[in-house]
């Protein structure tokens, strides 16, 4: 398939990547990226990135998870060095070796996860690392003065004396912004700043951003939430599969068009409409409820049935209970209520291992945390999760030759690119790690596959291969619970889709007559889904 078919939708594109943006605006370019390429072992994270951020604007960078946004920002903030390409700040070409260099050039970063010391005051946090001194003594007076000035100038409403641990999330974020401004940043990078905020706080943040803009600062706003981007950005650059596909103005696009740019229209959509669903029920959840330590319901009263040969897709914005549902099914989180049945047996009280032994395969969302031993060789990773099953063990003993032989089989069948089975898992690219995991979990004829983002971070070819494997297994009677942020994948593979919102199923969707856009609006609770 062709990976770079031109976008067919009618979107008023300011610039595309193939032709660098017009340089008429050179004078007011705060940051300019040209041809940035960054390779990691076996994978290109960024390829030929081009865009210009104008001074005094909010410039949004949008893209799916894994599209390469964070790598790009790490490059811009000096945490990674690009293999090719150039960065210019205020028209001067720069080369950052450390974040310190970026800060010196006036670029500051507000991380998604706050980097604040809870037990220090706002003042202490702000000066941490660049403490003002007078005759060798800490000079908090001057610092306090400057914090007040900055806070007033940009309407941040931050007072220097409370302890950070007493602040709410929105306040903490403003402290982070102030910290960056204190260090003299003229360009602020905000990495998914709204991920941790409730709607009112998002509005406040946007007010702050407009204030910053008015004072001549430049904001680079990373997000995958399109309505927010449209609300606050002056220009939007879309990144897909590691490269910039377009820069657009929010006035000329709709959220739907942006989504199409993000997902692209060239995805090999897996159209498998001939149904293989049987009437034999394999996995059934009844009234599943999981509570947090504080007693808040993370998922509530979720019920579903998956039959032999059926793929049930779960659609939802990330963080709406998908992870908890999966972990409850795998026995990694206790159920507060409800039962899970596997082929008529109640497995609600079984430990994880017994569930896996009874034929539940598991492709975890976070492969590094839950799917691999990064500093172990590949063949030991073949054993992980299947420590009690042939060909990995014989009685209480590890069957080295059996496990090694089967690892080689997975590598051949799933096209894992590796020089051998003795290399450490950390040496493989993310996509190849994922292929190994998929191959492992499909081994031993599982009855159920719990697949969270099975093709995340995987290149296009491997993605199609993984889809083929899932489809083939489904034909042979595998029941699949599929969770994916890739709506085309979800619609293309699933026999039925449930939409999850705030821990509850809010709609049933028939994948044969739903568009990604309709599904997307159902996911945000806007309704419009058919049942």
């Amino acid at each position: 398939m062709s990976a770079t078919r031109p976008i067919s939708r009618k979107v008023p594109v300011i610039a595309t990547t193939s032709a660098p943006p017009p340089v008429t605006a050179q004078t007011d370019a705060a940051v300019e990226l040209r041809g940035i390429t960054k390779r990691f072992p076996g994978v290109v994270a960024n390829r030929d990135i081009n865009f210009v951020v104008r001074r005094g604007q909010v410039h949004a960078v949008v893209g799916e998870n894994g599209a390469g946004k964070s790598t790009l920002m790490k490059i811009l903030y000096g945490m990674q060095r690009p293999d090719e390409g150039s960065i210019s700040v205020d028209g001067k070409e720069v080369s950052f070796h450390t974040p310190g260099d970026a800060i010196d050039a006036g670029i500051g970063m507000v991380h998604q996860h706050f980097m604040l010391a809870d037990n220090l005051t706002v003042l202490e946090n702000v000066v941490l690392g660049s403490e003002p001194t007078k005759a060798g003594m800490l000079d908090f007076g001057t610092a306090r003065q400057r914090i007040k000035e900055i806070s007033d100038a940009y309407g941040l409403d931050v007072s220097p004396d409370p302890l950070v641990e007493d602040l709410g999330v929105g306040d903490r974020q403003r402290v982070e912004i102030l910290k960056v401004l204190y260090r003299g940043a003229k360009v602020l990078i905000l990495d998914e700043p709204t991920a941790v905020l409730v709607p009112q706080e998002v509005d406040e943040l946007f007010d702050n951003l407009r204030e910053l803009k008015k004072e001549g600062l430049t904001v680079i706003f990373i997000s995958h939430k399109l309505d927010e981007v449209l609300a606050v950005a002056d220009e939007i650059t879309v990144i897909r599969r590691g490269t910039t596909v377009a820069t657009v103005e929010p006035a000329g696009v709709t959220a739907r068009q942006l989504a199409e740019l993000m997902v692209g229209s060239e995805l090999p959509t897996p159209e498998t409409r001939e149904s293989t669903v049987t009437d034999q029920m394999v996995l059934e959840g009844k009234g599943l409820t999981v509570r947090s330590v504080e007693g808040r319901a993370l998922i509530e009263d979720l019920s579903f049935r998956i039959h032999r040969g059926e793929v049930l897709g779960i659609a939802g914005v990330e963080g709406n209970g998908q992870a908890e549902l999966v972990e409850a099914i795998m026995g990694m989180r206790p159920l507060a209520a409800g039962t899970i049945g596997l082929l008529g047996e109640d497995l609600s009280t079984w430990p994880t291992r017994r569930r896996r032994e009874h034929g539940i395969g598991y492709i975890p969302e976070d492969r590094h945390r839950h799917g691999m031993l990064l500093e172990s060789p590949l063949w030991e990773n073949r054993i992980l999760g299947h420590q009690t099953e042939a060909p990995n063990v014989k009685g209480p003993w590890i069957d080295r030759s059996g496990a090694r032989k089967d690892t080689q089989r997975i590598i051949d069948q799933y096209d894992v690119r590796t020089p051998g089975i003795d290399v450490l898992a950390s040496s493989l690219s993310g996509g190849n790690q994922q292929k190994l995991i998929v191959g492992r979990e499909m081994s031993g004829e599982p009855k159920v596959l719990i697949a969270s983002h099975p093709t995340r971070g995987v290149d296009v070819g491997a993605q199609a291969a993984i889809w083929d494997h899932i489809r083939a297994a489904r034909r042979l009677g595998l029941a699949v619970l599929l969770i994916s942020a890739d709506l085309d994948e979800l619609i293309g593979l699933s026999d039925s889709i449930k939409v999850i919102l705030r821990g509850r199923f809010v709609a049933d969707v028939d994948p044969s007559d739903v568009t990604p856009e309709a599904l997307g609006s159902a996911m945000t609770g806007a309704g419009g889904a058919t049942s």
């Binding site: 990691f40 691999m372 031993l373 199609a464």
Partner: protein, 370 residues
């Protein structure tokens, strides 16, 4: 094959670097205090290679090795069993009391004493294990506390069972009968000093350690938990249960640490001068030996060689505590060097793998034609 060679080379270079570095530091300390470096080193080497000192080195090494094994079992699971010290002392004391109060034929008598020691060691470690599994108490804190409790508990109980050692004001447990003696062996020619027969138990323990950790399901679960607890949980390992098992086993092995001295020494009793602090030396040796059975054996011998050969220094007017400086420097530099070498190893392999793949696949690696 080449990968294995590389890994082995890295594994050997790291401790050698640490030892060389500590030799340099030790030499600098000697220079700074105005002591001769060469003649000091020569004195240590000459004395350390005498047959009787070699036998003592083997004896002390046996004890150190068992202690390091006990620590390493925890380390492989990312558990820091600092409590080996209290575990072996309480185990040896209890075993001494039990052993002296019964009379059995030879092999059985030894067996009962050793099993008692292992059970007590496991039990003492089990307290920390239960606290960790049920209440999430850090094993570092609880084992340190349990060390202190063991010290006082032994002091208290020793008064209850006290048996005056003839001709001194030392007190100890009643000596164990001859049937409880673990026979020593004439391993080093040219000296009357016998080597603890327990050295064979230590060797067997080392082999078991390697086999169980490397070749069994249980060992895989344990190592997986140590490498990534979250991945182990997802793979179906019951981490709490593994915490309990591994600390129990660690404690049981710790129970063996006092046995060579108790059963192979001349008095066969636990008295006030029973060796202490072996559990901490075990931590250092496990670190230096990288939790590897052979690596720890070499490290144990190095430490015991330094211990037993340094005695000569006092006769030459040099404080033998210079050896402690050297051992301390080894441990500190080992921690740093291993982390550096580990990171280098991972990064080097990533580079090598991507280079090899790039050679096979000259086109861009991302876009694979389907």
């Amino acid at each position: 094959m080449t990968i294995d060679l590389r890994r082995i080379a890295l594994a050997v270079i790291a401790p050698l670097l640490a030892i060389v570095f500590s030799l340099v530091v030790t030499a600098l300390v000697l220079v700074a205090t105005g002591d001769p470096v060469w003649s000091t080193a020569k004195a240590v080497l000459d004395y350390g290679t005498k047959p009787n000192v070699l036998a003592l080195t083997l004896n002390q090494g046996t004890v150190y090795y068992l202690s390091a094994l006990a620590v390493a079992i925890g380390f492989r699971m990312n558990l820091f069993n600092i409590g080996v010290d209290g575990q072996y002392r309480l185990a040896a004391f209890t075993a001494a009391v039990v052993g002296s109060s019964i009379s059995l034929p030879k092999p059985l008598h030894i067996l009962v004493i050793v099993v008692t020691a292992m059970l007590v060691g496991a039990m003492w470690a089990g307290i920390a294990a239960l606290l960790k599994a049920t209440r999430g108490v850090s094993e570092v804190i609880s084992t340190i506390m349990l060390n202190a409790i063991a010290t006082t508990l032994i002091a208290y109980l020793l008064r209850k069972v006290k048996y005056d050692v003839a001709g001194s004001n030392n007190i100890g447990t009643k000596p164990i009968d001859e049937s409880g003696a673990f026979p020593g062996i004439d391993l080093v020619p040219g000296t009357d000093v016998k080597v603890f027969g327990f050295i064979f138990v230590a060797i067997i323990a080392g082999i078991l350690y390697t086999v169980v950790l490397g070749r069994t399901r249980f060992g895989f679960d344990l190592r997986a938990t140590g490498r990534s607890q979250s991945a182990a949980v997802a793979s179906g390992v019951d981490v709490k249960r593994m915490v309990v098992y591994s600390l129990l086993i660690s404690g049981a092995v710790a129970g063996l640490v006092g046995m060579p001295q108790l059963l192979g020494g001349s008095t066969r009793s636990y008295s006030l001068d029973f060796p202490t602090g072996l559990g901490f030396t075990g931590i250092a040796i496990a670190l230096l030996g990288r939790n590897n059975a052979i690596g720890m054996a070499l490290s144990a011998l190095l430490f015991s060689f330094l211990d037993s050969s340094s005695i000569i220094l006092d006769f030459n007017g040099i404080s033998k505590e210079i050896v402690l400086i050297m051992q301390g420097t080894i441990v500190l530099s080992v921690v740093v060097v291993y982390e550096l070498v580990r990171r280098y190893g991972v990064a080097a392999e990533q580079r090598r793998v991507s280079r090899q793949l790039a050679d096979e696949q000259p086109a861009t690696p991302t876009e694979v034609p389907a």
